[in-house]
């Protein structure tokens, strides 16, 4: 405890250098960076490619966006769930391989899949909260288990021939399907964060010991955040099915790195308590548009991993600089 105590709490604000004020700007608006980047790249994309095709592009964008949103839910609450991608695949296999053949492929499938997603998320949350396993390793293990189960359930890809799901890749009535799969969870989330639950969630992500001592039920809230992640992952599974009109066990780990990169870019600090789902979407958009632009400018896809890796490195470093506590004397 060697921090300087100033007598007056509201001393005259010293001149803040530009770099510092930019840092504060981005700290208060964690999604700003990715949003700006998205807008710029979107403009370039549309300018260079007149037939941008927003509906199809959105459909292709939905799985990575939802994977990032699902991962973000647990991360904001101070946990992490690396099995989101496997959960999405599980939902997809359940829908295509089991519910549809059993005649449950109609709208009845939606509540079933969401409940299953919530259960999977809850299980992951319990591993971290009740068994107190390090969330990284615990969720890696569950990703492994789930990937194995997916492989058992669908050793070869299963094709979906028709159904409402496929509409989500194009249009439902006049609304692009992907706007529904991304928009509905996003809207519900923005409602949630304004409730007591949202305030509790950000508090446990920011400092769980404080929240605990103030009377917040940290375990319950954290498990709930995993459960929400599970539900969003189920929606992601539906969007993925719509995009590829099939279920394929090999996608069990396809979105792990993409989701982490997206949330890091979107201003969601990996240790929790900062950022929001909008940032996750913006981060995912950056990734998606980078991929697009490589194609657009005829850059070979072999650059993809290099660019992703560099982007992620850049995102975590700037994220950490932005989130760093204000420098105080003698601290």
């Amino acid at each position: 405890m060697s921090t300087v105590l100033r007598r007056t709490s509201n001393s005259v604000a010293p001149k803040v250098p530009l770099a510092e004020s930019m840092r504060l700007f981005f700290r208060l608006r964690p999604a700003a960076f990715a949003t700006i980047l998205t807008v710029v790249m979107l403009a370039i994309n549309i300018a260079v490619q007149p037939h941008f095709g927003p509906v199809q592009q959105l459909a292709a964008f939905a799985p990575i966006a939802l994977a990032a949103m699902a991962t973000a839910a647990a991360v904001i609450g101070g946990g992490i769930d690396l099995s989101i991608s496997a959960q999405m695949t599980f939902a997809s296999i359940l829908l295509v391989g089991y519910l549809t053949p059993a005649g449950l492929g109609g709208y009845i499938a939606i509540p079933i899949l969401l409940v299953v997603g919530a259960v999977l998320g809850t299980l992951n949350g319990l591993l971290a909260v009740v068994l107190r396993l390090p969330p990284i390793v615990a969720s890696l293990a569950s990703m492994f288990i789930l990937a194995g189960i997916n492989l058992r359930l669908a050793p070869t890809p299963v094709i979906l021939f028709d159904g409402w799901v496929l509409n989500l890749a194009s249009q439902v009535w006049f609304i692009p399907g992907a706007l529904l799969t991304i928009g509905v969870p996003l809207a519900l989330w923005s409602f949630f964060v304004r409730t007591a639950f949202g305030r509790n969630l950000y508090a446990i992500g920011g400092n769980d010991a404080t929240a605990f001592s103030a009377g917040v039920n940290v375990g319950l809230i954290r498990v709930a955040s995993y459960a929400i992640g599970g539900v969003i992952a189920a929606v992601g599974g539906i969007a993925l099915t719509a995009l590829v009109s099939s279920a394929d066990a090999s996608t069990s780990s396809s979105y792990v790195i993409g989701a982490i990169t997206a949330i890091a870019l979107g201003g969601i600090v990996i240790t929790g308590g900062r950022g929001g789902l909008l940032g996750a979407v913006a981060g995912a958009a950056v990734i998606f548009l980078v991929q697009n632009m490589l194609t657009l400018f005829n850059v070979s896809q072999v650059w993809l991993n290099l660019v992703f890796g560099a982007l992620l490195l850049f995102a975590v470093i700037t994220g950490s600089i932005i989130a760093a506590p204000r420098k105080e004397n003698n601290s």
Partner: protein, 338 residues
């Protein structure tokens, strides 16, 4: 934080019971893991034909050595309190260097190996620096660096990562090869030598001791004149380097190289470290990882012999990691952190 558990005077508790004695022995030596390995081996020997034969034991050891070699860097990373998710991709990097690059650029195997060392060490060292300097999760940084390194390989090879290992290299892991006339392939000898060398490094050198201290309590280590950031840089450089070298062995083993060649070994090596009983920030040891790798290999081989599918194998790894973590890798209670 003044915690009273350490502050108040201790009082004499009741005498230790047998279970406590066993628990204490287990904390110093992985007895349980060895027992399970032996039991699994005996089960295999009695239920599977030829399981205990010389060739079968040799191939068990070859398989375990690959997991074990891939787990060197992971052990070090976990000992300092991190985790290395770039193992899989650095395995590919190592394999590509000695197979494709030798063909692509016409360099000799030795040159490729000599280039591999600084390449992996610099990328890995950068990871360690970033993690410590910016206080970010090694999980994310290693993921990023692994992807980046793989990207670099893909650019060099223009996307087609596919190479073949020369015959003499493949002899490294061949059942029929011998080591200085002894009837086992060199990879087993290499693994044994590495195990001893790492045991000496961790427990009998000043650097090893400082590394353990940096993992046990980074802040106290810094105040005890240990250059903690340098330790992080060294550990992650070594981790990438060992993964690259393990990739060379892996290329020898599988004969061909592709981008997904490393995948399974990331999780197996992580499982081996955790099953062996090495905990984030220590305590732990490479010899524990060796036991973990043997245990994992024996169990999977026996189960595969009884018809275990790849999918079940994955489920098994996941479950074993969870069980091992639940036994000795649990975090502190919320009430102890206030």
């Amino acid at each position: 934080m003044t915690t009273l558990s350490a502050a108040a005077e201790p009082t004499i508790d009741e005498r230790p019971r047998t279970t406590e004695l066993l628990a204490r022995a287990q904390s110093k030596f992985p007895l349980l893991q060895i027992a399970i390995t032996v039991v699994a081996f005996l089960v295999g020997a009695f239920t599977l034909d030829g399981f205990a034969s010389e060739n079968s034991v040799k191939s068990l050891l070859i398989l375990a050595s690959l997991v074990g070699l891939a787990g060197i860097g992971q052990t070090l990373a976990i000992l300092i309190g991190g985790v290395d998710m770039s193992v899989a991709n650095f395995l590919v990097v190592g394999a590509v260097f000695v197979t494709q690059f030798t063909q692509l650029y016409g360099m000799s195997f030795t040159t490729a190996l000599l280039l591999l060392v600084p390449f992996t060490a610099i990328l890995g060292g950068f990871v360690g620096w970033v993690c410590h300097r910016f206080n970010v999760e090694p999980l994310v940084v290693t993921l990023a660096m692994g992807t980046f390194a793989l990207g670099l390989m893909q650019i060099q090879t223009e996307g087609t990562i596919a190479g073949g290992a020369p015959g003499w290299l493949m002899a490294l892991t061949s059942l029929r090869s011998t080591t200085f006339g002894l009837p086992f392939p060199p990879v087993i000898a290499i693994w044994a030598v590495v195990t001893v060398a790492l045991a000496i490094f961790i427990h009998r050198t000043a650097v090893g001791r400082r590394m353990l201290a940096a993992g046990a309590n980074g802040r106290a280590a810094g105040l005890s004149l240990i250059k903690v950031r340098r330790m992080w840089i060294v550990v992650f450089a070594l981790s990438a380097l060992f993964a690259g070298l393990a990739g060379v062995v892996l290329a020898a083993f599988s004969g061909t190289v592709n981008t997904s060649i490393g995948g399974p070994y990331l999780f197996q090596s992580l499982a081996a470290v955790i099953i062996g009983g090495t905990v984030f920030g220590g305590p732990g040891d490479y010899s524990r990882t060796v036991i973990g790798a043997l245990m994992l290999t024996v169990i999977t081989t026996v189960l595969i012999g009884h018809g275990l599918a790849t999918s079940d194998q994955q489920i098994l790894y996941g479950a074993v990691i969870l069980i091992a973590m639940a036994l000795y890798g649990r975090g502190r209670k919320m009430s102890d952190r206030v």
